[in-house]
């Protein structure tokens, strides 16, 4: 691979379990947040987004939770599969004022 996420925090989960990946964002003025998944050798892939007028949004097997009080974002993956193994990044911006600022990232490792 291209050493994506080599030095990033790692979360290891058993296949079939739920995963929770956390992110502390930096700008209290940010009102748009995205989670990206980056597999080895690929660019970041959009997973799910949420605007600040919501505190929860659900997709297929994924849920994003937003706590503006403590500037915290989380991504929950239900029934984690080996194909979910990747590096996950949160990103933020002020809606109407791109571009995105990225968080540090977390490597998710799924144990079969």
């Amino acid at each position: 691979g291209e050493n994506v996420g080599l030095h990033l925090p790692t979360l290891s989960v058993q296949e079939g379990d739920n995963s929770i990946i956390n992110c502390a964002y930096s700008n209290s003025a940010s009102d748009y947040f995205i989670w990206y998944k980056q597999e080895s050798g690929k660019g970041p892939q959009f997973i799910i987004d949420i605007r600040s007028n919501m505190d929860k949004r659900q997709g297929q097997r994924v849920t994003v939770l937003l706590n503006k009080t403590v500037k915290h974002l989380s991504l929950q993956i239900a029934a984690t599969q080996p194909g979910d193994s990747a590096v996950y990044f949160c990103a933020e911006n002020i809606w109407g004022n791109t571009p995105l600022v990225f968080g540090k990232g977390t490597r998710l490792s799924v144990i079969a």
């Binding site: 291209e2 050493n3 994506v4 996420g5 080599l6 030095h7 990033l8 748009y32 995205i34 990206y36 690929k42 660019g43 970041p44 892939q45 959009f46 987004d49 990044f89 990103a91 809606w95 109407g96 004022n97 791109t98 571009p99 995105l100 600022v101 990225f102 968080g103 540090k104 990232g105």
Partner: protein
Amino acid sequence: SAVISQKPSRDICQRGTSLTIQCQVDSQVTMMFWYRQQPGQSLTLIATANQGSEATYESGFVIDKFPISRPNLTFSTLTVSNMSPEDSSIYLCSVSGGPGDTQYFGPGTRLTVL
């Protein structure tokens, strides 16, 4: 979402040379950006590519080192000039339909400088 391609996908270059990376989108987009991802790190914005005018660079990045072109709404180039081993990174093109729209990323260009 837009389909984004980058050329080359990877390259190995000698110190002191320059490399131009191309980004092509299959539809017109309002915003185009260039990011750098150093080994084991997150993404850092280099600049916003503006059509018909000079790119807008982030702190720590300058036009002489990273000249950018954007001749139309579907194409942009990033040049990494006078390369050193510290420039070894993944360079990523990203596009957006406009303020408030999601950003999508190309596959990246993996650059190694010897």
